[in-house]
Symmetry: C2
Subunit: 225 residues, 2 copies
Amino acid sequence: MTFDDEKERLRRSWVANASAWTEVVREGRIESRRVATDAAIIDVVTSLRPGKVLDLGCGEGWLARALSSAGMEVWGVDASVPLVEAARGLGGGTFVAASYEQLAAGAVELPEAFDVAVANFAILEEDVSAMFTAALRLVRPDGALVIQTVHPAFAGDGPYVSGWRTETFAAFPGEWPESMPWYFRTLSDWVAVLGTHGWRLADVREPVDPRNGRALSILFICRRG
Amino acid sequence: MTFDDEKERLRRSWVANASAWTEVVREGRIESRRVATDAAIIDVVTSLRPGKVLDLGCGEGWLARALSSAGMEVWGVDASVPLVEAARGLGGGTFVAASYEQLAAGAVELPEAFDVAVANFAILEEDVSAMFTAALRLVRPDGALVIQTVHPAFAGDGPYVSGWRTETFAAFPGEWPESMPWYFRTLSDWVAVLGTHGWRLADVREPVDPRNGRALSILFICRRG
């Protein structure tokens, strides 16, 4: 399995699984999101008091809608055309179908000088240079990049080593035509990859599951390095 | 149990347990240190190529000796008089008995402009302001503070919340007259406490136990914020 195979399978999965994904998100069927991680990302972005937010990997658009309702101007970008179409169906933002590579290359017409870019469980590739470059291009110099992702140290029993893993969606309701490869990164690799792409870790949040005391995710609040 | 009680019990434990501690360290009886964490702290400090190192909470002095052997000029400071005496017994550095509060207040005669300050499993208090202030005072502006500590997310099954815990030393050989209170800090609280005390997290290392793939500790490489 080569690097490009994983990336291509990842891209394809978000097309093939678009309607199953839209349904579980809109029906609130992912428990960790409902009990903690949705509120965590909204809280952190809101605390930064942005006027204009770029939602990178916006999916079907729930976060854009939530932030719009709170008075922010939100642009959402996702590489999956059916997910962007689903987002447009409910509105609450301006939605654009584009890859991180297209954003990084400036090939997409978007406003610049966003106050905050947010990537909510949306960094799934091994090579993150396009995503970080896009954020550098589109966020104003004193703005922030907010990332929510799987908490590296609470991500199951596998060895604590960065590498590709597979999400089969077996724990999710609905029909999932394709499994999704995703790149697991240790905490130290997260901090390193931020540093090598022009960002530094300014703050961290770890929403805890009230039922078992475990961290459900991690949020990195990043500033230009 | 008040805050000061814990701090006083912590201080006392390092006097009462000094000879048991000296023995387990010098005989290499702490497995995690032998398989990974000793090498990790030496590697990180060495990679920074310092001439002059301040070992905060040096204990019986093993790290100072190791770094001196590698050609660095090392000063070790510890609040436990019997541990400092043990360190002086083997040499490999200049050892001073003083608390972080005394260092922070400039009440101890030490060189300034250290290239690196290192705290190897030596930040055990809830209130870390004296330690971070001492490091700000004693490390040169472009120097580094290196901290190795318990990995927050691999520190047992308790709830993931910062707070006082107790080390009974039951897993250690030897006679331990007193248990040791120590303050557990989540990752997000570590990053926050660095930020509020003039330091920022520049890099992270997570030595992994080769036998089970779990992280045995975490190292924070910090620069002035």
